[in-house]
Structure formats: C-alpha cells, structure tokens
Amino acid sequence: MAGASIPARITMPAEARRGEIIEIRVLVRHAMDRAIDAPGLTPVPRKIIHTLRVTYDGAEILHMDLSPGIAANPYVAFTTVATTTGEVVFEWLEDGGAVYERRQMLTVT
C-alpha cells in the first residue's frame, strides 16, 4: 500500500562511501493536534503522527513512537551506516490510519 505524499524536507547525502556514517534529517509539516476537551471548548480529537518508520534497502533502520506532547512540524535527526545502494523509505503513520510516504535514493560506492 503506497502512502500519500506529505510536505516534508528530508536532508541526506545522495551518495556515500560504504561504511560511512551518514546523517539523515527529517522535517515534516503536521499540526500534531493533541486532543482538546474541556468545558467551554470545542472538542478536538487527537490527530498526530504517532509513528515514523524508516527503512533502508528493505530493512527497518528507525522506528519512532511520537507522543501528543511533541510540537507541530516535528523534526528528527538520526544516523545510519551506508551499506549498499538502495532506497530509503520514510513512512509517517497518522491517527485514523492515514499513511504518508517519501522515498530517497542512496548511492553507495
């Protein structure tokens, strides 16, 4: 199942040498609405990105659970080791079942 697109900025090198540690920065545009329910307020259901999953050449390299306390437009940076030329797939799972996806190629020499 292919994910819908989402405004995101992914910063990572297009190519790396085998064994090199690369940094990947992921900034995504999302309101991260935490649930609001109190007397006198219009109730707002919780709607956050609850999971960020990143796979590299088919293997999961990051699985992160996000909580309602995280600010809008969450930013995540992490590192991984360049092993083989392959696709890095970013998946954001949203409350309500929506899945967003972005792909980026990493060429390893």
Partner: protein, 251 residues
C-alpha cells in the same frame, strides 16, 4: 587599554539595553541556538512553507490566466523585492508584500483572493521574501510614501490600550531587557513572515502586531488594516539598512 577591553566585553553581551536610538537586528537578540536554527534550511520549519510557495509560484490559477512564473520568470528574479515593501502603488494605495500579491492574484490572475493569513498567501510571501534574505531593508520613505511613514510614526508613538503604552516604551526604551522570559526587540519586522514557536506555525507581521495590540490591551485591528500597513512601513523605515531575515524564527 584595559578599559577598552572591558567596554568591548560589555558590548558583546547580548542582554544589555540598546543605546538610545539604536535599532538592533532581531537576529542579534536571538539565542545562539535559535540563530543557528534560523540559518539552517534543513531544520527551519519555515522552509516547509517556502517549498509550498515555490510550487504555487509555478502553478497556473484555475482561471486559466498565467502563473506568477509566466509573467515574472523564475522566482529568483524576485531578489530585493521584499526589501522595498511596503510601497505606494501607482493608484496611491499603500501595499505591503501580502496585499501586493493579493492584488496581483485578483487583478491580473482574476482568481479569488487567497485571504490574509491563509496558508497559500503566507507560503508565497515567504518564498518571495526569502529572495531578499540578507539584503538591506530599502523602503522608499519620501515622495508619495512620506505621509504614510508619518501615519505609521504617529501610530508608533501614540499611547494605546488599557496599559497606555506606546510601541517605543518597550521597543526603544527597553530593547535588550527581558519581558515574559523573552528579550525585548527593537520592534522591526525584518523576519516576517516568521515561524513563531508560540504559534507553532508561520505567521505574518500583522498577526504579530495583533498580538502586540492584545499585549497592551488595545483594540486589535483586522489583518491588512491601514494603520498596521502604515506601521509596517514606519518599522521598515526604522530598519533601513538592516538585513532581511525572512523567514525568521521568533519565540
């Protein structure tokens, strides 16, 4: 000699009140962390809006009229434009960058207005303003603009609201001192549209001015109100020569 060194250290400290009449660049009042964030497109959330604005620039409206790019060429040609706004249009109206874009959209593209503070208008404004990043503010202040600068100055100097404060009582007399855990700025709009951490989103200078009005418990004027546009021009006149920081990071 030693006295000179001590003086140098005192001037380097960021939390000293500004000298009277000195207008400081907002970036100089940001914490080192936030300054680094403001200069880093890989982490600055404002760039999410810039991306959207650049896409809108190339996109033809549904009216069948040309896209921004069809008339103006690539968006990089907008270099220096934001540094010249607000400006007086040929019909005598004072326009800031937002209302200038809106006018282009309704008159030339014959498409429905985006609406002030809409995501689309904020995105386009940010993408265009980015092309002037680092350039000195260079608004026109004489000729047709002079009466508007004067109107802005009057608004700036008039005490307002339940707290009976004029803008300058904070933004001239107490620059660099702290208020509500933040540092009082010189009150120049060079970073707008800015990503304000309090908002968790990008917002226009008028949104910030409305927050100022609320802060002194004065009447909040609507977005695009003449008084705010004139004030925006006066603030830009105060900021002449300071670099444009849009899209900025503000607390």
């Amino acid at each position: 000699m030693r006295r000179l060194v001590v003086l140098g250290l005192a001037l380097a400290a960021s939390a000293i009140p500004a000298l009277a009449g000195e207008v400081r660049a907002p970036a100089s009042l940001l914490s080192p962390d936030l300054r680094a964030l403001q200069d880093d497109p890989s982490r600055h959330p404002g760039w999410l809006w810039v991306d959207g604005g650049e896409a809108l620039w190339r996109e033809a409206p549904r009216s069948g009229r040309p896209s921004c790019q069809s008339c103006h060429g690539p968006i990089d040609g907008m270099r220096g434009v934001a540094a010249r706004y607000p400006a007086v249009a040929s019909d005598g109206a004072l326009l800031n960058l937002e209302t200038r874009i809106e006018r282009c959209r309704t008159d030339n593209q014959q498409a429905p207005a985006f609406g002030y503070e809409s995501e689309a208008l904020l995105s386009l404004t940010a993408a265009i303003a980015l092309r002037s990043r680092g350039l000195p503010v260079a608004v026109e202040t004489d000729g047709a603009a002079a009466p508007h600068v004067e109107a802005g100055r009057r608004f700036y100097e008039t005490r307002q609201g339940q707290l009976n404060l004029s803008c300058g009582q904070c933004h001239d007399e107490n620059v660099g001192r702290r208020l509500r855990g933040d540092v009082i700025s010189s009150g120049v709009g060079t970073g707008y549209p800015a990503y304000r951490l309090e908002w968790n989103t990008l917002g226009s200078l008028h949104r910030r001015l409305r927050a100022c009005s609320l802060g002194v418990r004065a009447t909040q004027l609507p977005y695009g109100a003449y008084d705010y546009v004139a004030l925006e021009l006066y603030l830009a006149a105060r900021a002449r020569g300071l670099p444009v920081e849009s899209p900025g990071i503000r607390r």
